[in-house]
């Protein structure tokens, strides 16, 4: 038992929670935005892959780290636009289109990566984001290093949670977005075009997904390799259900999830005789459990997955 307390009491463990949570926060916010406006975006896994690749490649070819983040956001928005084009004005199946975007974006990322970096025994690296010490606050024992010794994108992700919650619940734009996900006819009656509103919101959400991917190659690690997203995108889709489509709870869900992940990583090193694969299964199994727990309680946006065509009901 004392081993467990050692892990739970260590600064490193809690510092890791926020680090592991960051791509999940960004991805979950992205999915949340798309679904709040009424569109399921299963392109996330591929969009995160592309964000990870293009962000890394931008920095590797001499751009600075923030240029890399911006490139990832733009790349994400680009694939988001493609997804929106197919699912919103054309009203194609959101499930199949999303999977198509994932397959296309990830294979396209690998193609571009291989073109840029032909073959190498060890993957080339970049200088990643360094943890930023917030003056004074980071000197607080325990809390200081955990909360105020993180990389800049982590702070950005936390700010974005608050910003998104404010936009969604306190601005006319947010009201329109939420309404488009509940009843697009009502939005149209207000003189706002639900088609463009949906396209724009999906692009914004996808930009966040791209940034979530780039966090992995520019802050958590320092190189890109195929299949590095490892289902994080799908986990974000599950987290949005867990969060009942609310930004605050999305943050909570991502943190809880990251806590389990950081905990199992450390547990692996001290518990002997348990195969490591069982620990690695934990995040996926937990996501499924979260879905089961929340399935009946979740307040699904009413118009989710329903294409809008004016004059059609």
């Amino acid at each position: 038992m004392s081993v467990l307390f050692d892990i739970l009491g260590s600064v490193g463990m809690w510092e890791a929670v926020l680090r592991i949570a960051t791509p999940l926060i960004l991805g979950t916010l992205g999915v949340l935005l798309c679904e709040r406006v009424g569109v399921l975006n299963l392109g996330i896994e591929g969009i995160m892959t592309f964000g990870a690749m293009i962000g890394w490649l931008t920095v590797y070819s001499g751009g600075d780290l923030w240029t890399g983040m911006v490139a990832a956001a733009l790349g994400g928005a680009m694939f988001g636009f493609l997804h929106a084009l197919l699912t919103v004005p054309l009203g194609l199946s959101q499930h199949v289109t999303g999977l198509g975007i994932t397959l296309f974006a990830s294979s396209f990322s690998y193609y571009v990566f291989r073109l840029a970096i032909p073959t190498s025994s060890s993957p080339p690296t970049v200088e990643p984001f360094r943890p930023l010490e917030v003056p004074v606050l980071s000197d607080i024992p325990f809390v200081g290093p955990v909360l105020f010794h993180q990389t800049a994108p982590t702070y950005l992700a936390l700010v974005l949670v608050a910003l998104l919650a404010w936009v969604l619940y306190r601005t006319p734009l947010g009201l329109a977005i939420r309404m488009a996900g509940e009843n697009p006819h009502a939005v149209d009656a207000q003189g706002i075009d639900p088609i463009w509103l949906r396209i724009g919101t999906i692009m914004a959400g996808s930009a966040l997904m791209g940034m979530g991917g780039a966090f992995l190659t520019l802050a958590a690690f320092n190189s890109f390799f195929p299949t590095m997203i490892q289902g994080r995108g799908w986990i974000c889709v599950a987290l949005v259900v867990f969060a009942s489509w609310r930004p605050g709870r999305a943050l909570l869900g991502a943190l809880l999830f990251a806590f389990f992940d950081a905990f199992q990583l450390r547990l692996q090193t001290v518990v002997e005789g348990v195969p490591y694969q069982l620990f690695l299964m934990l995040p996926y199994v937990l996501s499924i459990v979260a879905l089961i727990v929340m399935a009946r309680r979740a307040s699904v946006p009413q118009a989710l997955m329903q294409p809008y065509r004016r004059g059609e009901r």
């Binding site: 299963l42 493609l82 197919l86 054309l90 194609l92 199946s93 499930h95 199949v96 289109t97 999977l99 198509g100 975007i101 397959l103 296309f104 294979s107 396209f108 690998y110 193609y111 291989r114 073109l115 032909p118 490892q230 289902g231 799908w234 986990i235 889709v237 599950a238 259900v241 195969p275 694969q277 069982l278 690695l280 299964m281 996926y284 199994v285 996501s287 499924i288 879905l291 089961i292 399935a295 009946r296 065509r309 004016r310």
Partner: protein, 350 residues
């Protein structure tokens, strides 16, 4: 500009849709090849030559198409009933793992040869079924969307395979490499062509496509599955037992994906590793859509994908274009096919 539903989509347009979709995907991929500094026409000529130009290439293409036909069918039967089985990859792996696992049972090894083979195929299919019945059960019991759960279970399945082949199923003679014990001798599928990897699994795959076609167009089950997909409420009102129909569809779909894994390990590899599948499960989704969920069309769509994958391997060696271009083209053809189906059903009005 707006879209108007056609009352009667013309037959011709429906048939031309996949061809147009593939051409459009090839044009976009061609631009990507040109950007990489190679001549796209030469690249495509090399792909065709690699896939068909030699006895070896041709047999490889058919070998590659075999699991793709089965995973394509798995997705097609599920999607037709609006059961979103995206877990073909995981079901494929569990189906493959079931074969060496069965071989570990001593009593089983004493069975006569043909029975061993049939038992392995059946057990592989059952393993795939079980993995799909879990998410279906969660959907029927708790209302959990099966898209995300089947996706997540893919990762669990591969980790489970890794656990087994580093544990009880580990081959002690593999110099420490994580791979399973070999499949039982009697379970190795006979070759269709000597000096090639082409095996009898191709016949099983084509046979299954015909079987699924018969099932869907000539039986009550087929009609019920279709009705359940088109409109669950109307189907329930007409007396279709929705739950039971979906369970049967899941058994068929998961079974086909599991069978794909069993056949791949019995026909080609002989043992299980965690890189047995170059995402056959996910490619199955593309193939099912390209075929417009038609079981016979799945054979053609699987051949197209197999040509791209096998051909791109040899093309990439000659032109130093990454062979990922095949994945890009296949993924793109899914998106273009969706648009093509749409255009076949709607007309554009100004």
């Amino acid at each position: 500009m707006r879209f108007e539903r056609r009352d009667h989509p013309s037959r011709l347009v429906t048939v031309l849709a996949p061809i147009g979709a593939i051409l459009a995907a090839l044009v976009v991929a061609g631009v990507l090849i040109a950007i990489a500094g190679a001549n796209p026409f030469r690249a495509y000529a090399l792909i065709l030559k690699g896939a068909f130009g030699s006895r070896l290439g041709f047999s490889e293409t058919l070998t590659r198409a075999t699991p793709l036909i089965l995973t394509g069918l798995a997705a097609a039967v599920a999607f037709r009933a609006r059961l979103w089985n995206i877990g073909g990859e995981g079901q494929f792996y569990l189906g493959a793992l079931a074969v060496p696992a069965l071989g570990m049972i001593p009593a089983f090894a004493a069975l006569p040869g043909p029975m061993v083979m049939v038992a392995c195929l059946v057990v592989g299919a059952v393993a795939g079924m079980i993995l799909l019945l879990i998410p279906l059960g969660l959907r029927l019991k708790f209302g959990v969307d099966e898209v995300v759960t089947t996706l997540l279970l893919n990762f669990v399945a591969v980790l489970f395979v890794s656990l087994m082949i580093e544990g009880v199923l580990k081959d002690p003679l593999a110099f420490g490499w994580p791979q399973s014990v070999p499949v039982p001798d009697h379970a190795v599928l006979p070759k269709l062509m000597d000096r090639s990897r082409l095996h009898a699994g191709l016949l099983i795959a084509v046979g299954m496509a015909i079987f699924v076609w018969w099932l869907q167009s000539r039986t009550v089950f087929g009609m019920r599955a279709r009705a359940a997909g088109l409109s669950p409420r109307a189907a329930a009102f007409a007396g279709v037992p929705l739950g039971r129909t979906l369970i049967a569809v899941a058994c068929l779909s998961g079974g086909l994906a599991g069978l794909a894994g069993a056949i791949e390990v019995m026909g080609v590899k002989g043992y299980v590793t965690t890189d047995l599948s170059p995402s056959y499960g996910y490619s199955g989704i593309v193939i099912a859509m390209l075929a417009n969920l038609n079981p016979i069309g799945v054979i053609a769509a699987a051949l197209f994908s197999a040509v791209m994958f096998v051909g791109a391997d040899s093309m990439s060696r000659a032109l130093s274009i990454p062979s990922y271009i095949a994945d890009v083209t296949v993924a793109l053809s899914l998106l273009t096919m969706l648009v093509a189906i749409f255009l076949a059903q709607y007309r554009v009005r100004r």
